[in-house]
C-alpha cells in the first residue's frame, strides 16, 4: 500500500529518520521505538508535513506505485493517507458530527459549492454518522467536540481519520493519555478498523502492541533495527538493548503501568 525508499530526514546535524526502507501491506503494523526514535517524524514525512532530506514515499494505487514524496499534507490526505494525532487535534467548537462530516466533505467534490445549504448534502452527514457509530460516539453526535472527555476525543480522532474511507491509516498513539478503563475500548477499535484498512500504529503500550499487531517495526535513532512478527521482535536482542539502553530489565514503564511486573519486552 505504502512504501519508502531510503527515506532520510535530518535537522541540522541530527538525523531523525535514517535511510528507512519500509513497505506497509494490508496488515496491522506497529511502529515502536524509544522516545525520540523518529516515529512522529516518520509519520510527518509520510503525510507531507515534512519534506524528506532524501528518499521517496510511494503509494500503491491501481497496481502502480505513485510517487507522493513531494505531496503536501492536504494532497496526501486526498490520496487516501489519513492520520490521527498524538495530541488531540479536533475542531473544538464544532459538533462531534461536524468534525467528521467536514472530513467526509473533504473527500467529496462539493466543498466549492457556494450557494446550496450544507443540509442538502445529506450523504456526508450520513457517512459521518456511520463513522461515529463505528467508534461508539453516535450518541454524542450533537455535542460540541470540546465537551468530550479525553478518551472520547481519541475515538473522535479515529472517526475523523476514517472519514473518506482512506486506504492507509496512520494512528499516532491513539491511547495517549487514555484512562486505564478505556484502553480496552481503544484496543478493540484499532483491531476493528484494521480489518478494512492498512494500519500503521505508533503505540507505547507494549501490551496492546504485542496483542493487536501482525507485524512490528522497531525504530531506533531513526533507523529500522527490527522488523517482524511481535514474538520475534520481542526476543530480538538489539531491540532489548535499544529499549533498555543498558539499564536494568523491567524498567519499561509501560509494563509497570499495566501492573505486570514482567512487562515490557522481556
Amino acid at each position: 500500500m505504502l512504501r519508502t525508499r531510503g527515506l532520510t530526514k535530518s535537522f541540522g546535524g541530527l538525523v531523525a529518520v535514517d535511510d528507512v526502507d519500509f513497505e506497509l501491506g494490508t496488515e496491522l503494523c506497529s511502529l515502536i521505538g524509544p522516545n525520540g526514535a523518529g516515529k512522529t517524524t516518520f509519520f510527518n514525512l509520510l503525510t507531507g508535513v515534512l519534506e524528506p532530506t532524501a528518499g521517496t514515499v510511494e503509494l500503491r494505487r491501481d497496481d502502480a506505485w505513485d510517487d507522493i514524496t513531494d505531496a503536501s499534507p492536504h494532497e496526501t490526505a486526498q490520496r487516501g493517507i489519513h492520520r490521527s494525532y498524538q495530541v488531540t487535534n479536533v475542531f473544538p467548537n464544532s459538533t462531534v458530527l461536524e468534525n467528521v462530516r467536514i472530513a467526509e466533505q473533504a473527500a467529496g467534490n462539493d466543498s466549492t459549492a457556494l450557494w446550496r445549504n450544507v443540509d442538502h448534502f445529506e450523504a456526508y452527514a450520513e457517512r459521518a454518522y456511520a463513522k461515529l457509530d463505528r467508534v461508539g460516539l453516535s450518541h454524542r453526535a450533537e455535542e460540541a467536540a470540546s465537551t468530550l472527555s479525553h478518551g472520547a476525543k481519541r475515538k473522535l480522532e479515529v472517526a475523523v481519520a476514517l472519514a473518506g474511507d482512506p486506504a492507509v491509516l496512520l494512528l499516532d498513539e491513539p491511547n495517549a493519555g487514555v484512562s486505564s478503563e478505556s484502553v480496552d475500548e481503544v484496543r478493540d477499535l484499532i483491531e476493528d478498523v484494521a480489518e478494512d484498512h492498512a494500519v500503521l500504529l505508533v503505540e507505547h503500550n507494549m501490551d496492546i502492541v504485542m496483542d493487536v499487531s501482525e507485524r512490528v517495526v522497531v525504530l531506533h535513532q531513526g533507523a529500522v533495527i527490527a522488523d517482524g512478527p511481535p514474538e520475534d521482535v520481542r526476543s530480538n536482542p538489539d531491540v532489548q538493548s535499544a529499549y533498555l539502553g543498558g539499564y536494568e530489565p523491567g524498567s519499561l514503564d509501560d509494563g509497570a503501568a499495566s501492573g505486570d511486573p514482567e512487562g515490557g519486552l522481556s
Binding site: 492520520r83 487535534n89 461536524e98 466533505q105 450533537e142 473518506g164
Partner: protein, 429 residues
C-alpha cells in the same frame, strides 16, 4: 412536506429575522411619527435620524464583509478599507467619466458590479501574498497593502483635482445615482441626500433620504442574503473549519490556501459594493473616510460590538456605535444629549457653580462637547471585557437556542437536530 409549503416554512423558521427586517423597513415611518408628528423631542434625541440609518446600512454591509473573512476564517483583514475605497472611488470616477470604456452614463448598478470585480482582483493580488502568513503577520501585511494604496491615492491627481480631499461627483453627473434595474425607468430610484427621488406611494410621500434608505437597504439585504448563503454552504463550513483549527483542516485534505483566497475575494467584493453605495449616497469620498486604516478600525469596532462571526452582528454593532455617537455628539441631526441638556435645564441651572467656580453648563460642555469617540472607546473596552461574544452573539447564546428549539417543536418541522448543531457551533443565522 409539499413543495408549495416552503415559503411558509422558511418564514416560520426565520421569524426573528423577519421581525428585524420589518422593523428596519418601518423605521423611517416610526421615526417620522415619533419625532415629527407627535413632536417627541426625546425620540429625536435618542433615535438616529434616517440619514444616519442609511449610513448604518452601507457601513454595516462593509462591517459584515469584514466579519465574513475575519470572523469566519479567523484571518483579520486589517486592510479591508482598501476594498471599501476601491468601491467608492470606482463609482465616482465612472460617474465623472474618468474610467476608460465606461462613460458617465453607465448605470449605477453596473458601476457597482465593476467596483466589486476590481476589488476581487485586488483581493486576489493581496491574498496571494498575504495568505502565506497567518495571525498577526497576516493582519499587518494586509494593513501594509492598504496603507500603500492610501498614500498612493492621496497623491494621485488623476482621481481628483485635490487628491488629498478626494473626488466628488462632478457636473457631468449632476442627477442622483439611479439604483435599480438598468434600462427600466420605472424600476429605478435616485439616491442621495439632496439628489434622491421623492416617491409617493399610497398617498404617503417619502423624501429623498427615506427613498435612499430603502434603496440602499434593499441592496444591503440582498448582499447579506448572499453572504449568509455562502456561510451555510459546504464552502462556508470549510471557512469555519479553518478558523477552528487550520492544521486539522489541511490534514483532512483541504487546500486551505485556496479556500482562504476565495473567501477573501468574496469578502472584498461585498466591501466594494458597500463602498460604492457610500459614494453613491454621499456623492464624494476622501482618502480619510475610505482607504484609511481607521475605516477598517470602525468595521472592527462594529464587529466586536455586534459579535464576531455572526455575519449580521456587525450591522447591529454599527447601529449601536452610530446611535451612541450621535447621541453624545452635538452635531447629530436630532440634536443629541448636549443641546437637550442645554435647552432642558435652563439658563439659571446651567450657571450654577458645581465644582469650585465651574458652572454646570461649562462642566456639561467639557464632558460632552466633541468627546463622543472617547466614550465609544470606553464602551468598546467594556464590550471586549464583558460581552466578548458581542450583541448578537450573546443574544443567540441566551435566547437563540431556546427560540430555535421552541419553534422547531412548535412547528414540528423536524429540524431540531439542525437547530442544536447550529447552536453549538454558534453559526446560526
Amino acid at each position: 412536506m409539499a413543495g408549495l409549503d416552503w415559503p411558509t416554512d422558511y418564514l416560520r423558521a426565520h421569524v426573528p429575522h423577519l421581525a428585524i427586517v420589518s422593523l428596519l423597513a418601518l423605521y423611517p415611518s416610526i421615526y417620522h411619527l415619533l419625532a415629527n408628528s407627535l413632536g417627541l423631542y426625546e425620540a429625536e434625541i435618542l433615535l438616529p435620524g434616517v440619514e444616519t440609518m442609511t449610513a448604518v446600512l452601507y457601513f454595516g454591509l462593509f462591517a459584515m464583509s469584514f466579519d465574513f473573512i475575519s470572523g469566519y476564517t479567523g484571518y483579520l483583514s486589517f486592510g479591508h478599507a482598501a476594498f471599501y475605497g476601491t468601491g467608492a472611488y470606482t463609482v465616482i470616477l465612472v460617474a465623472n467619466g474618468a474610467v476608460p470604456l465606461l462613460g458617465p452614463g453607465t448605470p449605477f448598478v453596473v458601476s457597482l458590479l465593476v467596483a466589486g470585480l476590481l476589488a476581487v482582483l485586488l483581493a486576489l493580488v493581496v491574498g496571494l501574498v498575504s495568505f502565506r502568513l497567518s495571525g498577526v503577520y497576516f493582519a499587518m501585511i494586509t494593513l501594509g497593502f492598504a496603507q500603500v494604496l492610501y498614500v498612493f491615492i492621496r497623491g494621485w491627481d488623476y482621481v481628483a483635482r485635490n487628491p488629498r480631499d478626494g473626488p466628488s461627483v462632478g457636473p457631468t453627473h449632476s442627477e442622483g445615482f439611479q439604483l435599480g434595474v438598468p434600462g427600466v425607468d420605472q424600476l429605478n430610484v435616485a439616491i442621495g441626500v439632496l439628489t434622491g427621488d421623492e416617491v409617493t406611494m399610497l398617498g404617503h410621500t417619502l423624501g429623498g433620504t427615506a427613498v435612499s434608505y430603502y434603496a440602499i437597504g434593499a441592496v444591503v439585504l440582498l448582499c447579506y442574503f448572499a453572504m449568509q448563503r455562502i456561510i451555510h454552504s459546504p464552502f462556508g463550513r470549510v471557512m469555519i473549519a479553518i478558523r477552528e483549527n487550520e492544521e486539522r483542516a489541511v490534514a483532512i485534505g483541504y487546500d486551505t490556501y485556496r479556500y482562504k483566497l476565495a473567501a477573501f475575494a468574496v469578502s472584498g467584493f461585498f466591501a466594494a459594493i458597500a463602498g460604492g453605495l457610500f459614494a453613491g449616497f454621499r456623492r464624494s469620498a476622501s482618502p480619510e473616510n475610505s482607504f484609511y486604516f481607521l475605516t477598517t478600525g470602525d468595521a472592527l469596532l462594529a464587529s466586536i460590538i455586534g459579535g464576531f462571526g455572526t455575519l449580521a452582528g456587525p450591522l447591529f454593532g454599527r447601529l449601536f456605535d452610530e446611535t451612541v455617537r450621535e447621541f453624545l455628539s452635538k452635531s447629530g441631526q436630532g440634536g443629541g444629549l448636549l443641546p437637550y441638556l442645554r435647552a432642558g435645564l435652563g439658563e439659571e441651572t446651567l450657571s450654577t457653580p458645581v465644582v469650585g467656580n465651574t458652572s454646570l453648563g461649562t462642566l456639561i460642555d467639557t464632558l460632552l462637547n466633541g468627546h463622543a469617540s472617547l466614550y465609544i472607546g470606553i464602551v468598546f473596552v467594556l464590550f471586549v471585557l464583558y460581552v466578548p461574544d458581542g450583541l448578537l452573539g450573546t443574544v443567540r447564546q441566551r435566547v437563540g437556542g431556546k427560540l430555535a428549539h421552541v419553534s422547531a417543536v412548535r412547528f414540528g418541522d423536524g429540524s431540531t437536530a439542525n437547530a442544536t448543531t447550529d447552536d453549538a457551533t454558534g453559526e446560526e443565522e
